[in-house]
């Protein structure tokens, strides 16, 4: 983990080079209040869902950063803010040195949008069933006006199809003629069409069977090496994260609770939530048939607990945890937001 948040440290150019995307205090709130009349007549109150609540994260160039967490933790919202589908409520979204949150004109965003693309979970829902594959893949090329000669576009589409392991002739077929894994390859080809630097993959293999999942994960890794791509992978699957990610951020109720290099996170997880997640995942190679499941459920993000959001389920919770929200503190091993870690109350990790 790169220290980009050093108190008052001047940003160095080297750092600019190494970090593709920088998030600072990023928040995305949704107003889910009852309608105005209900508020006026029935005295109902405004309600704000803090889907993302103050996230600091650096995404280094050419590497894979992953965000993991359970449903409702805000990981997909971060992804959508990153590709400018949502505008941040507060905080900075700095992409290649430019704060995209401050760009208000659609046109000003266009050159940045070309450089970032997104792959979605469901390859059945994300491809237009009425379009031939060639047209689907060519869409970003045409939308961004990258090429206008039809033959050049067809050539580029053929090249992209072969790059993701399909045949050039597949451009003339429709999405329903392909299996789930092949459809995900089409989504990847479309995402690569505008030659992006940054790919956001939201649960890229969750809808696929395991044998196909392995093919897609290998493909994503090969493409990263060949094209120097930077990935942000959003997933709930820790085994997928273990394979694909260089750096991992663990989210809980809209906040980052721990960020660390992948090897460190799995060898020495520190945040009690990270530990519980790793302990809970059933593992084929080392099954624990007497596993003690984590108690409780994720609280509603509409009404998160005070202080540390995890204190209601945390085995190490103390009085302070219910009161003060812990800050994400950086050190040599990464960053962790936990009072127990800071106070040295964390027991040794043994799995």
């Amino acid at each position: 983990m790169r220290d980009g948040n050093g108190a008052g440290a001047p940003m160095v150019t080297e750092d600019e080079q190494a970090v593709l995307v920088r998030l600072r205090g990023l928040s995305k709130h949704f107003d889910v209040s009852p309608p105005l009349l209900s508020r006026l007549l029935e005295g109902k109150r405004r309600r704000v869902l803090k889907a993302v609540d103050g996230v600091d994260l650096d995404i280094p160039r050419g590497h894979t950063t992953a965000l993991v967490g359970e449903s409702g933790c805000g990981k997909s919202t971060v992804a959508r803010v990153l590709v400018t589908l949502y505008r941040p409520t507060t905080g900075d979204l700095i992409f290649e040195g430019t704060d995209l949150g401050r760009l208000t004109e659609r046109q000003a965003l266009a050159p940045f949008r070309r450089r970032m693309q997104m792959i979605f979970q469901d390859p059945f829902a994300s491809l237009n069933p009425r379009w031939r594959v060639g047209r689907i893949i060519a869409e970003p090329i045409r939308a961004h006006g990258l090429m206008d000669d039809d033959r050049a576009i067809a050539g580029r589409v053929a090249e992209l199809l072969e790059h993701v392991g399909l045949r050039a002739g597949d451009a003339d077929r429709f999405p329903h003629e392909f299996s789930g894994g092949q459809r995900q390859r089409i989504s990847i080809a479309r995402a690569l069409a505008s030659s992006p630097h940054f790919l956001v993959c939201d649960e890229p293999t969750s809808a696929l069977d395991v044998s196909v999942q392995a093919q897609i994960l290998n493909l994503l890794r090969d493409l990263q090496r060949e094209l120097g791509l930077t990935y942000l992978v959003i997933t709930h699957d820790l085994a997928v994260v273990r394979f694909i990610a260089d750096t991992i951020g663990v989210m809980y109720l809209g906040r980052l609770c721990e960020v660390a290099p992948a090897d460190t996170l799995f060898a020495r997880p520190r945040h009690p939530y990270t530990r519980l997640l790793i302990e809970t995942v059933p593992d084929l190679r080392a099954p624990d048939r007497d596993r003690k499941p984590m108690a409780g459920e994720v609280p509603s993000p509409l009404d998160p607990p005070t202080g540390c959001a995890f204190h209601t389920r945390c085995p190490l919770a103390a009085e302070r945890c219910a009161r003060d929200r812990p800050a994400l503190r950086r050190d040599a091993d990464g960053a962790v937001a936990c009072h127990a870690v800071e106070e040295g109350r964390l027991p040794e990790w043994g799995r």
Partner: protein, 332 residues
Amino acid sequence: MSDPLLSVRDLRVDFPTRRGVLTAVDGVSFDIHPGEILGVVGESGAGKSQTGAAVIGLLEPPGRIAAGDIHLEGQRIDRLSQEQLRKVRGRKIGAVFQDPLTSLNPLYTIGRQLTETIRTHLPLSEAEARDRAVQVLGEVGIPSPADRLDAYPHQFSGGMRQRVVIALALCVNPRLIIADEPTTALDVSIQAQITALLKRLCREHGTAVMLITHDMGVIAETADRVAVLYGGRLAEVGPVDDVVNRPLHPYTEGLMACIPTTHERPPRLAQIEGSMPSLTAMPPGCAFHPRCPHAFDRCAAERPPLFDHPPSAAACWLWAPEGARATERAAS
């Protein structure tokens, strides 16, 4: 060993369509013993859910059992009338599906759904049925169950709803529970709670479970034995530790190798090339032979039967008594 609770022999499930008959399950045989958890794994389209639906008599039309037989406690249940089947289904077989919302009626309180089920199958009064409902809800881990009887399904979280569905399946003490992807829609922390619950109930009541899932991790931690399906056929069946760590069938071998783990980070994942054939284009011989690294002439020509290799059995010519691997193993 005791007599099997459920015995399925040469089960075939057909779906007649305008373009011909599709065979979703093709010659599948297995047993489940009392108190045992049998995992049924396979990729989408492998026929695992159809096998479960056939056992419980809930095949979606036009699907039908075209061949084979199913015995529950010695009684043949695949030829029962709808009325007889309904009794067996409620009393002896319980079901838990992936999405708890589809198993619960959103318009009725969970107390009403539980007491109705209980009174349909057990000779209890309304008050006794309510007591039984409270007891079962407590058993599946619903906090203050007596107060929750009058709540509607939407007032529960996803994990709690799945507990209610399990309570509904358990309330009349069935002999067998068919659980089709019971944890797939749930978060990992909740998933572990539900599998722990299934295991505990199995142990305490001697209920057998047919656990259908695509998640090998869940199987490895929950099941006693596992049946691996491929293209509607049984590829391999055996004790879970043997199937995971000493697979016989090349498909099982490939499947286990391509599953990522949190314990290590290989440079590449092993992958099985291609994908499972669709039911309309099932290859001749062994369904796996076009993707199999060990395939030879016979595999494309003749469909392999299930060869016994205790403690497991596999449908693969390599394991025929004169087959390459069987000979190797005998020699070593």
